[in-house]
Amino acid sequence: MSMNADDIIQQKQWHELTPEEKLLVAGIAADEQEFNLLKNMIRVSLEENNLVPALNPILKEKLYSATMQNKKTNWLGWYAAAAAITGLIIFLLTTEKKEQQNPIVKNNPAPAVNKIIIPDSTANPVLILPAPSPTETTKQKSNNIALIKTDTLLQKDEKSNITTPLYSNVINPSVDADSSLLAFISEVY
């Protein structure tokens, strides 16, 4: 392993240097005097370590108590986190139980929300309607249909190429079995 110039100065005497080492230190120490000057400089610098006073022992006490405090803080953190999680779990369980006991929720479970996307030959306007719930009345159905009709007529005004199968696509899933409603639709249309 090759030594640095300062390593050579620190570890060797001028007369011990090989020609290669002399070449290596030549940039900073051209002769023996300069070499020795640097050697002295390095030695004095290292000796200054002996002039460093001893560290005040009170400092250790202070840091020791900081370590203990850190330990306490760590535990406090864990306790706080555990308490927060437990509280959250209890809150969620209580809320859920209360909701289940509520007679309104119990008798009328929320219907699943289905959406029907009406395919459109013009591709641009897309009409999204909620699927009729099983308890939907005929009046509600007719309202929905009226809504569809208005929307579609508006579209028809704008784009005259809209096609009629649009209605059947919308109504088909729930109306098939209801012949009176079908008659009503035909009448309205």
């Binding site: 640095n4 110039a5 300062d6 100065i9 940039g27 900073i28 120490a29 005097q33 300069e34 020795n36 000057l37 640097l38 050697k39 002295n40 400089m41 390095i42 030695r43 004095v44 610098s45 290292l46 200054e48 370590n49 002039l51 460093v52 006073p53 001893a54 560290l55 005040n56 400092l59 250790k60 202070k62 840091l63 020791y64 900081a66 370590t67 203990m68 850190n70 330990k71 306490k72 760590n74």
Partner: protein, 187 residues
């Protein structure tokens, strides 16, 4: 306890994180005086300031032990934090530095050789006037006696750059202290 005495710094740090006071004792024993010495030399030989910095450094260590970069050696990591603290202090107290530079330094030297005593004083005074980069290099290389790879890791510089900076620093010191060329090498 025997494990802690022989334990690696990484192991001690993980124990310190859990508030293990024995691990703290061991780390403090290994690095307390060493880091105080570094701060003392870097911060104009101001004992109180060096103590404050040592305390801050160890508090950082206690509170942020988990931030230890395992790619570095523990000593290198500690020196990098300490060095950055000193740099911040230099910037904060720029005016103070100027004041410190002007201060006459009295070195207690019992050397019977007046030339040597003068040489020591001249070296000390000159190194106090070195700029931040040169001073950290001087302290790390010639006072702390760290190797080039260690210094490169602390300063986050390529080894070649460190070598070249050391070379120019020695050249500068030699030129500055040339009047002591005739001084005999003392044992």
């Amino acid at each position: 306890m025997a494990d802690i005495k022989n334990g690696s710094a990484e192991m001690l740090l993980s124990l310190l994180q859990k508030g293990n006071t024995a691990a703290f004792d061991e780390i403090y024993m290994r690095y307390g005086q060493k880091m105080f010495g570094f701060f003392y030399k870097m911060l104009w030989k101001n004992k109180e300031l060096a103590e404050d910095f040592t305390q801050d450094l160890f508090l950082k260590l206690i509170r942020n032990a988990e931030t230890f970069d395992t790619n570095k050696s523990f000593a290198t990591w500690l020196y990098s934090i300490a060095n950055n603290m000193c740099k911040n202090e230099y910037r904060k107290q720029e005016t103070k530095i100027k004041f410190q530079k002007m201060k006459v330094v009295h070195i207690n030297d019992s050397s019977p050789n007046p030339d040597l005593a003068n040489f020591k004083k001249a070296l000390h005074n000159y190194t106090q006037t070195l700029n931040e980069d040169k001073k950290e290099l001087y302290v790390l290389r010639f006072m702390e006696n760290l190797t080039v790879p260690q210094i490169a890791a602390i300063l986050d510089l390529p080894e070649g750059t460190v070598k070249s900076r050391i070379f120019y620093l020695l050249k500068e010191l030699k030129d500055e202290l040339k009047e002591y060329k005739g001084l005999l090498t003392y044992p």
